[in-house]
């Protein structure tokens, strides 16, 4: 992970670490914080705790997002301090709705400059985001909204498994992981498990991202905690709830970063610090599905 972040994430980059609730790569964010990257433009549908932590650590110059809360809990206070009061420093925002940002990734993946969608009529979003424009349908004359393409410098995808070449398999919620990867100039894949190429090839419909668009593959078990990996470990909802109090207090948040991010060398160190009880509480039960026949 150290090497992948060192090589592929640079100051000033537009960075995407996606995953909708599922498979959010906190391990990569923590390594970026440790390597003290700055002036990043951070883009995600839901900034979630991951970007709240990166903003608190001073990595961010700008945030592109569509829903900025702590899901099911409350606020992201580091983000709010940066936006409302410029603490630790001001962070610019570019705001969409989910559909808008999803479409922006789809345009980026397709290398189209824009994406048309039937949206935003009657809302104030285009008034505060001039990047939302319109286009007229050449067939019906209907005026549709458009969003510009999102093409990040680097996308980091967390997934259940990949082979050493980066052929990546992912199940459970997909989010926009595939689109974010195809949209990016550089792609880092972080997985719970490195498997033989034969495992991937035994079930090719399960593959979301082909290895030839991947620049680095990192093996990092528990790399998504406190997010989750279907079939590996549950979401740490207790930690999401606890974050409300941690992030509300600027000093407390810095203390948390000092202890759990700067204070450890890597993800293994972080998991050791959390202790075995967390792992036991969150480890997934087995609910293994049947295979299908690829014969002919």
């Amino acid at each position: 992970m150290k090497e992948a972040i060192g090589r592929f994430v640079h100051d000033g980059d537009t960075l995407v670490i996606e995953g909708f609730t599922h498979l959010i790569c906190f391990a990569a964010a923590h390594e970026i914080i440790r390597q003290r990257r700055k002036d990043l433009t951070l883009c995600r549908l839901t900034p979630d705790l991951i970007y709240d932590q990166m903003i608190a650590a001073g990595c961010a110059k700008k945030l592109i997002f569509s829903w900025a809360g702590n899901p099911g809990v409350g606020s992201l206070f580091a983000l709010r301090r940066a936006v409302e009061k410029g603490v630790p420093h001001p962070v610019a925002i570019e705001e969409y709705s989910h559909y808008g940002l999803v479409a922006s990734f789809a345009a980026g993946a397709a290398k189209l400059p824009f994406w048309p969608l039937r949206n935003y009529r009657g809302t104030d979003l285009p008034a505060v985001n001039p990047r939302i424009k319109t286009v007229t349908c050449p067939y019906t004359g209907e005026v549709l909204a458009t969003v510009p393409a999102m093409n990040p410098d680097v996308t980091i995808v967390h997934a259940q498994r990949a082979d050493e070449l980066g052929d990546t398999q992912l199940w459970g919620l997909y989010g926009v992981q595939k689109e974010a990867a195809f949209a990016a100039k550089r792609v880092v894949v972080v997985v719970e498990e490195i498997v033989a190429e034969t495992v991937v090839r035994a079930d090719p419909n399960r593959t979301l991202i082909p290895g030839f668009i991947v620049d680095a593959v990192v093996h990092e078990p528990w790399g998504a905690h406190p997010s989750y990996a279907q079939g590996f470990y549950d979401r740490d909802n207790d930690f999401y709830v606890a974050w409300e109090a941690i992030s509300k207090d600027e000093a407390g948040l810095q203390q948390w970063l000092a202890e759990y991010v700067y204070g450890v060398d890597d993800r293994a160190g972080y998991m050791d610090k959390l202790g075995p009880a967390v792992r036991e509480r969150l480890a997934a039960d087995d609910m293994i599905c049947e295979g299908v026949n690829y014969g002919f």
Partner: protein, 244 residues
């Protein structure tokens, strides 16, 4: 409110579910009068049958045992914009006279008094779902004459009426509150009182909104939750009282 919101759902409806109260209402409806409700979460879970109350909209319990997992591109393009969603559930910090909803900022956008989470899927749900059900406790602060920011369009506003804007969906057709039910007027889309809960006075309801609230001549008398419904909510669906 969860009980009352559940009653708005018809068996077989395809519902775009948010977390919290909407999720409770949907699961209550499934357990009572609407066993064939199809729950779709914007995270991609289709036909979810969560065996625990999901804390987040992307809970793993929404995936396990679901009918399908769709990418978010498909969810927004083919399912929602594709016209496949009958009901959307929305909340919001502010709801105005014409059903416009604000979940973005209190105060001006550039210098907000309170920065709220923003749209998420709320903007497009309000535009595309056949019917939108809104659940929110009534208060003058939450129901001003006009919202500070239109995140989700209602029936009329500074950009025109729903018809003028050719919105594909029906918008907020029922506003379920803690004291009564509002509905848009068929004439001008202004929200008016159409139903009232037991032991609530119409005058008290009128005090709780930021415009002169009209009440229909004939008000529905909304029955109180049955003990069975309360039992289901409190002991089965949300035993840890995460959202009650």
């Amino acid at each position: 409110m969860a009980v009352r919101a559940a009653k708005e759902l018809r068996d077989g409806d395809v519902v775009f579910v948010g977390i919290g109260l909407p999720n409770l209402a949907c699961n209550l409806a499934r357990a009572t009068h609407a066993p064939n409700l199809v729950l779709i979460y914007e995270s991609g879970a289709v036909g979810a049958v969560p065996d625990r109350l999901p804390v987040s909209i992307g809970d793993p319990a929404l995936v396990t045992g679901s009918l399908s997992v769709a990418s978010m591109v498909d969810i927004f393009t083919m399912y929602l914009q594709g016209g496949r969603i009958q009901v959307g559930f929305l909340g919001g910090a502010q709801i105005d006279r014409y059903g416009n909803i604000n979940s973005t900022v209190i105060g001006p956008y550039e210098k907000p008094k309170v920065r709220l989470p923003g749209s998420g899927g709320a903007c497009e749900i309000a535009i595309h779902a056949d019917r939108v059900i809104v659940a929110a406790a009534l208060s003058p602060r939450s129901f001003p004459a006009s919202v500070d920011f239109i995140t989700s369009p209602g029936h009329a506003g500074k950009y025109g009426t729903r018809k003028e804007l050719k919105q594909p969906g029906g918008g907020p057709v029922r506003i379920v509150t803690d004291v009564g039910i509002l509905e848009p007027s068929p004439d001008d889309g202004e929200l008016e009182l159409v139903g009232i809960y037991p032991d609530v006075a119409v005058e008290d309801v009128k005090q709780k909104v930021g415009w002169p609230l009209r009440a229909r001549a004939k008000l529905e008398n909304v029955p109180p939750p049955t003990s069975e419904e309360l039992h289901l909510l409190r002991d089965v669906l949300d035993p840890d009282r995460l959202f009650l």
